[in-house]
Symmetry: C2
Subunit: 413 residues, 2 copies
Amino acid sequence: MPVNYTPPTADSLLPVPGIKLGTAAAGIKNWQRDDLLLVIADAGTCAAGVFTQNRFCAAPVVVCREHLALQRNRASDFRALVVNAGNANAGTGEPGTAAARDTCSAVARLIECGDDSVLPFSTGVIMESLPVERIVDALPRAYAAARADGWFAAARAIMTTDTMPKGASRRVTLDGVDVTVTGIAKGAGMIHPDMATMLAFVATDAPVDEQVLAALAPDIASLSFNAATVDGDTSTNDSFVIAATGQAATAPIRHAADPRMALLKNALEAVAVDLAQAIVRDGEGATKFVTIRIEGGRDIAECRRVAFAIAHSPLVKTAFFASDPNLGRIVCAIGNGAAGDLDAARVSFWLDDVLVVDRGGRSAQYTEAQGQRVMKQNEFTVRVDLAHGDAHAVVWTCDFSHEYVSINAEYRS
Amino acid sequence: MPVNYTPPTADSLLPVPGIKLGTAAAGIKNWQRDDLLLVIADAGTCAAGVFTQNRFCAAPVVVCREHLALQRNRASDFRALVVNAGNANAGTGEPGTAAARDTCSAVARLIECGDDSVLPFSTGVIMESLPVERIVDALPRAYAAARADGWFAAARAIMTTDTMPKGASRRVTLDGVDVTVTGIAKGAGMIHPDMATMLAFVATDAPVDEQVLAALAPDIASLSFNAATVDGDTSTNDSFVIAATGQAATAPIRHAADPRMALLKNALEAVAVDLAQAIVRDGEGATKFVTIRIEGGRDIAECRRVAFAIAHSPLVKTAFFASDPNLGRIVCAIGNGAAGDLDAARVSFWLDDVLVVDRGGRSAQYTEAQGQRVMKQNEFTVRVDLAHGDAHAVVWTCDFSHEYVSINAEYRS
């Protein structure tokens, strides 16, 4: 069960004018559920994406990057996104790339657009060949099922080891006009997004220019998905796509400096943060949700290195699981992540509001009971002050439980 | 229980002329066993050390570095090494440094030498103050117990979560003279040595010059301790010290080019590799010992990055535990560790002799049964060919089991 996460409902995910979503059961694995999602965007929609930095990136990621570049060059629209769960189509070589292209062509025939207006995604087991014919067979059913309020069904269709669907919506008013932002994501394991997480799709009807959207996507990713980690493995399929249909009745947003951008960016960030946190809350075997905030770093890179050193340490994560304020493990991780010139004698850290380490040593007032009180909660913050600069960064992670080992020793079987 | 590890016996650890070892129960924790080790070296012994790169390094590491530098500057001898188990004296600030110095002074008074001829070590819980008076009280008993064949008792006294003592010996003949190399180590958790492991001490009676020994220590460490990882956390206390008593009746070895060096280096490396592998075999919760060999890399740094990306991935480690040839997880880890210009379509990997991935894709002959046959063994090799260079590197690791979570969720309690 996810930590402090109320999943979306069919009603809580607001339709985005210009977007329809349909699902179907393609039978990729022996699941008795829909595992194929087709998102259809009206003409006039533009998209931007951020993808995994893994060198063994999946075939659909290669095709996505290519199609987004073609959309930009030919000024063609983004018209569809197709996702299958159960097979990642990664490490599948040329046949895998051909399967991703064939999926796009099948969608393009259905909705009558160019192949490069379609973005393909896959999530699931790596290094097994994609049963593309089952996807092609099921696509007309997903197409027929497509509807504006299909977001909740869509969030469910893309799940793998996720225990709950993940989605979020925000509504903002730009110059008196209501604009909607809705997104869905899936996560669970192999979560340490380098560019974006396993799979997240966010749409808005705000009339954002393609250039502006392309610049915005990495910013949003760095404030949301790139701050989430479950197990430190950057997946082969990480993809975050953001689409703008432009159907809201307000003038086009053509520049990052447009005064409406601040509000819109807030809404996009809020949806992306909700989704990123949902992925961590529902991390494999997670029983705690931990925010790691590093302050006083030389630069953001150092803050993130320290935060991830803490978040990825199996010793720290098992101590989180045990509600054990094992300070030494956190101190050790700080020492591994920090820059070479860190002065350990100036470093302090807190568990929520409890000062634990005061300038390099155990705080005189600190008692083990205080630490335990904080760590027994299923949600708390580790705050570290490196005291040698002005930068800060936040990362969200979960604990490492017996359940994590069980899930990952048994997945596939 | 360690994986395929036969622990040393009192007889298998050969005395090194010039070295005596004594242990005592100082009662650092509530253990009913000896937890204090005093190693005494005859005058004329020199030493070299390699220490943790963790920025929160422990007080004894600071004092060790300082004393070794003083030994070099003042041409004074290495005369003693003192180790306590149960408390790491790390994250303890100025009082911790004072405690490490007080320990050295107490030893210096006993054996009548300068404080800087003594090297202090601590291993155990981080960030609790060292009960130095108990150590000082117990030192005379350890001194009285010191004997040339005390290596086995020594290996036992330094254990923490180790399930078995770790030691190794080799004898080589240099110019017709028998020379002995014997070492002990402790490990178990927080094992990803950046310079050397938690604690390893190797002695020889070979008359190696101090300069030669200082140059040799990092070489030996990189071929042994720095190729071992259990959980990816570099500890605050990692220390590897090598001492040469010079009592073997052969002429001094004053240059790295001395023809006797090859044989001696082999013996030192063999002892260090035995100890490093023993640490992994006895890693917390380990049920498998896995050798990861990366070939065809651009440089050694890339090979080590890929090897550690595999060795540290919790997804790969839980698949090892489950004997599950989950190829995708290994492929994903390769993609995360490799250089940006890796051509995934040329990468191959093997499980022992079974070709699994053939130039970027699943090998046509590969069957899951073959992969499982290899992985069901408690010891096997993952070999990767990156196919874009000539460098190679080897790393040893273990799996991630339920037992790992249990040990680390319950340690301290």
